[in-house]
Structures are given as C-alpha cells and as structure tokens.
Assembly symmetry: C2
C-alpha cells in the first residue's frame, strides 16, 4: 500500500457532509457524511469517522471545509465576513488549525443585508460563488445576479466579482417540513397523476401576495375536493413555494439580463423553468463543481502560509 | 351510584378531542382525548376509551361530534355541505348511527371557494359559527366577517346567517412546524428578552409580499447577528405569520366594520391586537363556548328524529 499526499475538500451543511478527495490536482473519490444538524458526536470525531475510508491508505495533509463547519455548532466558530465581500479578504479570513492529526482549513461565511434591509447570513454558498467565478471568469465582470436554490435558497448580487448583497429564502426547508410533517399531503390518492401540479403551483405562487399560508392549504383542498393525487400535491407545493420566491425576487432584483443558477442539476432545472418567462436568459452551473473550485482556491491560498 | 341521562358533546380535531358532558342542560365536566391525526387505534375505540371515565357511572344516551370525526380518517366520512351553507341544511345533513352501544351524531363540514377562487374546506369551524350565531343573534343579521384563528385559521363571510364563503390559512400549523422542527430557533440565547418580537414580526409580515420565505429566515439571522433570544425569535415568527395572514385577508375582505374573532382566548387576543389598526372594531368569542352552542343545536335537532 503506497501512501500519497492528498487534500480532502468538504462542503459541510446542516443536513449533509460532501467530501471530495483531491490527488494530482484531480478529484479521485467522494464520500458523504452526516450534516452538522444531525451530529451525535463531536464534530471533529464525526469528521474523522467520515474520512476513515480514505485515511487507512492515504496521507491526507489538509482538510479544507466550507459551510456549517465554521458555525457555532461546527468545528470552530468563525466570524462572518461582512458584505461587500471580496475574494482576497475571504481567503485571508480563513481559519487554520490542527486537530487530532488533521490540518484543517475552514472558510468564513458572509453576512450582509437582504433585499428588505434586514440582516442575512450565508455559510457555504460564498465558496460556491467564488468557485463559480474561478470556473467562469465572465461572472466576475459587471453586475451579475445569481440564485443558489436549496434548503436555504440565496439570491446574490455580484459587482465586479464582489458579493454585494444577498437574500435568503427558506424555500427548500419549508418544502421538506410541509412534505414530511404537515397535514397537506395526507388525503390524496397516492397513485400517479402528478402531471401539471408544479406549473399550477408556480402560477398560484405568483399571485398569492402575503397569503402564502392560504395558497398552501389549497394543496390539501385539491386532494379532498377535486381528486388530486399526493404526487400532484407535492408538485403543487414545490411549484407554489418556488413561484412565490421567484415573484418576490423579481420585485427586488432586476432580471432583465441573464440569471446564473448554481446547484444540484435537478433543482437548477426547476428554477430555469420557473425563471424562463421573466429574465433574458438563464445559465446553470453544477453546485458541486463550484464548491470544489472554491475549496481549491482556499487550499491554494492556505499552502502559501503555515498552519497556526 | 345513580344513573342519569346525559349527552356528550365533542369537537374532534386533527390534534385533539375536546369532550363536554351535558346534564340538566348544563356542562358538568370536560375531558380531552387524542386528535384524529394521532390515533393508534380505530376511531370508535379511541372515542370509547376517551369517554370511559364518564361511562362507568353515567348513561350517555347520545354523543354529538363535530370536526375531523366526519373526515376520511374519522368515524364515518360525511360529505361536505357546499357553501352558501344554511343552518337548516346543515342540521338536516348531520349523520346519525349506533356503534358499540353509543348513539353518535356527526356534523357535516362545509366546502366552498376561498378568496382566490380555489376550493376550500372546513370541519368543525361551521359548528362554532352556527353556535356563535345562537349565542349572539346579531351575528345572523347582515354581512359579517369572522376569523377563527388556529392550526388552520378561517376567515368567514356571513350573509344574513348563511356561511357565504371562507378562506383557510395554515398559520398555526406553519408556526408549530417552524418552532418545533426548523433551523430557525436553534441559534439564539434561550434566556428571556422576548420583548418586542411579536410586534416586529407583525410589521415585517405586512410588507413581505410573496417573500414570506425570506422574512422567515430573518428569525434566524436576528439571533445570529443581532443577539436576539430564542424567545424573541418565536414571538417574531408568530407575529410574522399572523401579520402576513392579516395583510392578505385585508386585501380580500373589507374590514371597515367589526370583525368577530372566535377561538382560544390567548389566540384571539393576539388577533385583536393585530387587527386593531385596520378594522372598525373587534369582538372576541370563546371558541369552546361557540362549539358547545353549535353541538347543542345538533343535539336538539337530532332528538326530533330517531337514530338510523
């Protein structure tokens, strides 16, 4: 068994840990582990356990993490970098430390004001954003609008490569809570016939005003009174939440030009479909690819100075 | 031990069963049991078990129920009475049957279109509404606007005592899901200092537009960035959801005159406070008192004809 020098990159969110093994500057393998929100042991022990399949025959010299790894419940709490946030400041503010034989680097999150002027935060998305600009340098020029859909969907303005401001919508978290724990999807037939649910929800989300809580109940009534299936209801719910988010974003962010959508390809496709009527064009980037590019930027920078 | 002839009245919702024992035309006792959504046995067995403390020394000649007792997962599924719904038709459509030695009467729910023209349903609130008109006959005259806050908050229009139309908001269910299962209240200090949270949420709910999912995330950011407590966050969340509901209702229902608020006194007080700036006056009625009055109407009517 030969030992090779490798770096592990990781995006550690609330609900899961995604790890990538980099050797000879290329991704060799990937693993999943528990999210920060689901840990039953100390974060450092969970990290070592998640890395274990690699550690037995690979010398991992550095672990570079973004996301909730730097939160109060993560490995070490790292202050947010306030927006407007520049790449150089973000790289400079990364935290480095040694723990249990691992040299760990953690990206800072970014804080700012949302489109309504209220405080807002991100941890992890900034890494995808700086990575996206690395992968697609045109994004670092002029004013750009990005959306990173997910548990906590982020709408982000870039000004010449600087994260100028952003707004978080808990669209994905709401969808998961309502699908798994609410009374909204308990009554319909569980068979097929989901056709059209997403688009019906999308239209309804556009015109719900502040009455989202009324539109949500229609998911249930449609199953009880008009024979819609649970599958239709789940799609209606998804369309409704995304439709309301897109409508609110439209009123706050000009979308006359292109919107870049970064995330899981299945989800970015839903947002592309939802945004199509409203913006000049959309452009999709794979979220993992952007996270890896951002984590590699951190790894390159951290090589330039010794660990503390 | 003397046996006396009694009637049990019950409001059987998704989350709980409220039972009232009527003897000599007065409420003698009350009990609680599991909601239809939490049953682990057949509904009829759960009902007998809940009534057991009374059954051992009281002859209960009739059990009169409203709410989810008449739903697909209840004792018997009873069709909805379509709005516009009149008292006489509602009394006529009640279901009566004998099961396991109990003579059971169940109120029908009401179906209709919400303020956006989509199908909507209620089960239980119609009983409180007909009961409210019995308790306060002025409600049965002219056009009246009622709100019945709760898990599924209902805004109801009455025209000369007829349920003309209504809209359901899942405000209470959303609040419970977000308080108990979301990431929104996990970061703040758990100590005191909840002051002002409700009113801050109320103001924010008024101007959130379709961006409720963004305003919700502010509950979390306020704890992370501005040191708000979990208690403040919970109150903010409550104010936000009620504020958005009230704003949406305001845009759909004219509130120039009095609004009648029916429900749990703690909750009706929150709605009174939230509605005060927008409507002529508010008038609060206790939800249990209205439910009992409505169930007694059903009991009187069902005495006039034999059980099927």
């Amino acid at each position: 068994m030969t030992e090779e020098t490798c770096i592990a990159l990781g995006d550690w969110g609330t609900s899961r840990l995604r790890l990538f093994l980099v050797k000879h500057a290329a991704i060799q393998d990937h693993l999943e582990g528990p999210g920060i929100g689901a840990l039953v042991e100390r974060p450092i022990d969970a990290l070592r356990r998640s890395l274990a399949p690699w550690l037995k025959d690979t010398a991992i010299t550095r672990v570079v993490l973004c996301g909730m790894a730097g939160s109060r419940n993560g490995l070490v709490e790292i202050p947010y970098l306030p927006a407007p946030a520049e790449l150089h400041d973000w790289l400079r503010d990364q935290a480095q430390f040694s723990a249990h034989g691992l040299d760990v680097t953690i990206a800072p999150g970014v804080s700012g004001k949302n489109a309504w002027g209220a405080p807002d935060v991100m941890r992890g998305e900034e890494t995808q954003i700086f990575g996206a600009m690395q992968a697609e340098p045109a994004l670092a020029r002029g004013r750009q609008l990005l959306v990173l859909p997910g548990t906590h969907s982020k709408w982000v303005h870039l000004d010449d490569g600087i994260i100028a401001g952003f707004t978080t919508f808990i669209t994905g978290e709401l969808f998961a809570l309502l699908r798994n724990h609410s009374t909204l999807l308990r009554t319909g037939n569980s068979q097929e016939d989901a056709e059209g649910g997403f688009d019906a929800g999308l239209r309804r989300g556009q015109d719900c005003g502040t009455g989202l809580a009324a539109a949500l109940f229609e998911t249930r009534s449609a199953q009880i009174l008009t024979g819609r299936s649970q599958g239709w209801g789940a799609n209606f719910l998804s369309g409704l939440l995304i439709g309301a988010e897109v409508r609110a974003a439209l009123e706050r962010y000009p979308m006359d030009q292109s919107v870049t959508i970064i995330g899981d390809p299945q989800l970015t496709a839903l947002y592309r479909h939802s945004l199509a009527p409203y913006c000049g064009s959309t452009h999709e980037l794979d979220g993992d690819r952007c996270a890896i590019a951002g984590l590699q930027l951190l790894a390159q920078f951290s090589r330039q100075r010794p660990a503390i």
